[in-house]
């Protein structure tokens, strides 16, 4: 419970924002940042904790978005139920891609490649399949009732996505303190050594991927309800795959708050870019790509890493240890 305290405090503080301001600009910005934080947290579980870098998380985001939208529009299913099914569908896609990839022993670059390929395949299919509206995309009819998961003002949306982010933070924290989490991190550090200690690395990776996909899919479902329009490029496009990994990397890969910190930075950068240069497409992603390279080069543990180093330097002096067993002596 102690470990959950920082999360609850942060969520409580953030929850007060709509009570302080009713500026749509601010709320919209924060909703998008929280959305990316959610999507990024999904990536963070598989990539940050598990060490498996996916370049195709759009596959789960888009599936969540499309399933939610299609169930409502074509089958008249209630929006909330649609969101639940969307999350499950995303998790299923994650399980399938994971099963195929991990059973084949794909790792590292090959795994990144195959996830990229799967996301692209889904994008192409979505851009031609009639059920998704093909090139035209899918529009969710405006129906401003809470039962339809649509709200007049932004505040309810804000609170919902905040709750989702909060849940994902709690989930990650609980995983951190569990055997599954220890096994997942061991897989990241050294798969052979992990196997020799009894870890079923394939199943651990598969479980991580499925949960990761579910979290990211939740972001997709929310997106569909918030913007009421998706097409193949939005749902399955590279932009979301990039932002999904950028946020955790900037904020601190493999940490609970990393994706949230990183998402705030990413979105702030995006807004600044728009302020300076207008809405020309592409520039924001140029900045994102540049930042990615800079972070990897100079601050690989992200903002959280920098903060942790500062804290360590300020707080813990060295304690005496047998010289022969520790580096730097003897």
């Amino acid at each position: 419970m102690r470990r959950l305290a920082p999360i609850l405090v942060a969520m409580a503080l953030l929850a007060t924002v709509p009570l302080i301001t009713s500026s749509n600009v601010v709320l919209n910005f924060l909703v998008m940042a929280l959305l990316i934080a959610l999507v990024g947290q999904g990536w963070n579980l598989l990539g940050g904790y598990g060490g498996q870098y996916s370049f195709g998380h759009a596959a789960f985001f888009g599936t969540g978005a499309y399933v939610t939208a299609i169930l409502q529009m074509r089958y008249g299913i209630n929006a909330w139920l649609g969101v639940c099914v969307g999350i499950a569908a995303g998790a299923l896609v994650g399980a399938v891609i994971g099963a195929l990839s991990f059973r084949s022993g794909l790792k590292g670059s090959y795994f990144a490649l195959v996830t990229l390929a799967f996301a692209e395949v889904l994008r192409i299919i979505a851009s031609v399949a009639p059920i998704t509206g093909a090139g035209v995309g899918t529009l969710i009819t405006l129906d401003l009732r809470p039962e339809a998961f649509q709200f007049q003002s932004r505040a309810p949306f804000y609170w919902i996505v905040l709750a989702l982010v909060g849940l994902s933070l709690i989930l990650i924290r609980m995983i951190e303190d569990s055997r599954f989490g220890a096994y997942l991190i061991a897989v990241r550090e050294n798969e052979d050594a992990a196997q020799a200690l009894g870890v079923n690395t394939t199943m651990v990776k598969l479980a991580a991927m499925t949960i990761s996909a579910a979290i990211t899919a939740a972001g997709g479902c929310f997106y569909a309800q918030y913007f009421l329009f998706i097409d193949a490029g939005i749902a399955y496009g590279p932009w979301i795959s990039v932002e999904a990994l950028l946020a955790p990397i900037i904020g601190g890969i493999g940490t609970v708050f990393g994706p949230l910190l990183g998402a705030l930075v990413v979105k702030t950068l995006g807004e600044l870019t728009k302020l300076v240069t207008g809405d020309a497409p592409g520039l924001d992603l140029v900045i994102y790509g540049g930042v990615l390279i800079l972070v990897v080069a100079f601050a690989p543990r992200g903002i959280a890493g920098i903060l942790a180093d500062l804290r360590h330097r300020l707080l813990s002096p060295r304690t005496a240890v047998p010289a022969s067993l520790e580096r730097g002596h003897g």
Partner: protein, 290 residues
């Protein structure tokens, strides 16, 4: 449908397209074989090269085949610089970081092109672009025949470089045994950069070969590179022969399936082949075991 009058030109066209795929794949497999990294920026670099070829013609009136003479060394230097001063240092030698850095480069280059030149599709008009070469019953576009010949020449030149020059031998040494090469005094960072530069030089040549008959826009490179990736995993990561044979093979398959299945299904077909090969035989037909 199976008449030779239709099949033969389809196969020949497939071979010519395949030759360009092979050249792009060659760059990719060279980089993998020596640096052991999958260059996620390959597509963006090809797009950049295509834009360069386009503007060489638009601004300086340079025929693409002439432009090759300037663009090839230019892109060699670009590739050299990227590996030596960006990818190498930023990655600190860790595989996971190299992955992210090449992805970052891809995003930067592709979107810079998008920002600078918008998403419009451009083409250049060359007087000889529609000239025909007759081979038996087949009428083949001249630029594509030239492309085929040039690719073979490039492959030969690369082979000669690898076999007979000191740099080529150093490259092969580093590919086989990096530590040993380093201990023998080979400057590995330099060799890595040279290899990357050779890979991007291949892209420059491929771009000049493509521009007479293809359009260019910020996403153009990706379509070709996807095929190149498929070729490389099919032929084997790090195998030059695999890249060449694989490229020709994929070109023919694409041509024949385009004949029978149509365009967009063809794209999915390539993806499907790519995924299947990755899942079931990632070492490809000729490559090192994954």
């Amino acid at each position: 449908m199976l008449s030779s009058a239709i099949l033969v030109p389809a196969v020949l066209n497939g071979l010519m397209t395949g030759a360009v795929y092979a050249l792009i794949a060659l760059g990719l497999t060279l980089i993998y074989g020596v640096l052991h990294i999958i260059n996620f920026a390959h597509g963006a670099l090809l797009t950049a090269a295509m834009f360069a070829a386009f503007f060489a013609h638009k601004l300086f009136g340079l025929d693409p085949y002439i432009a090759t003479i300037f663009l090839t060394p230019l892109f060699f230097l670009v590739g050299y610089g990227l590996q030596r001063f960006v990818i190498g240092p930023a990655a600190h030698g860790e595989d996971r970081n190299i992955l992210l850095v090449t992805l970052g480069l891809a995003v930067v280059i592709e979107n810079a092109l998008l920002y600078a030149f918008r998403a419009d599709t451009r083409t250049i008009n060359l007087p000889y672009a529609f000239d025909i070469v007759e081979i038996g019953t087949a009428f083949l576009a001249l630029p594509r025949v030239i492309a085929f010949i040039v690719v073979l020449a490039v492959a030969l030149v690369l082979w000669l470089i690898m076999r007979w020059t000191d740099t080529g031998k150093a490259i092969r040494a580093v590919a086989k045994e990096k530590l040993g090469a380093e201990l023998s005094g080979i400057d590995v960072a330099h060799i890595y950069a040279v290899t990357f530069g050779l890979g991007t030089a291949c892209l420059a040549i491929a771009a000049c070969l493509l521009i007479p008959t293809y359009y260019v826009n910020p996403h153009a490179g990706n379509a070709f590179v996807l095929v190149a990736f498929t070729v490389v995993v099919l032929g084997g990561m790090g195998s030059v022969a695999g890249a060449l044979i694989g490229g020709l093979f994929v070109g023919v398959v694409e041509s024949l399936s385009g004949l029978y299945l149509g365009e967009s299904l063809g794209q999915i077909g390539i993806f499907a082949m790519f995924i299947l090969v990755l899942l079931f035989r990632p070492s490809g037909l000729f490559g090192e075991r994954v």
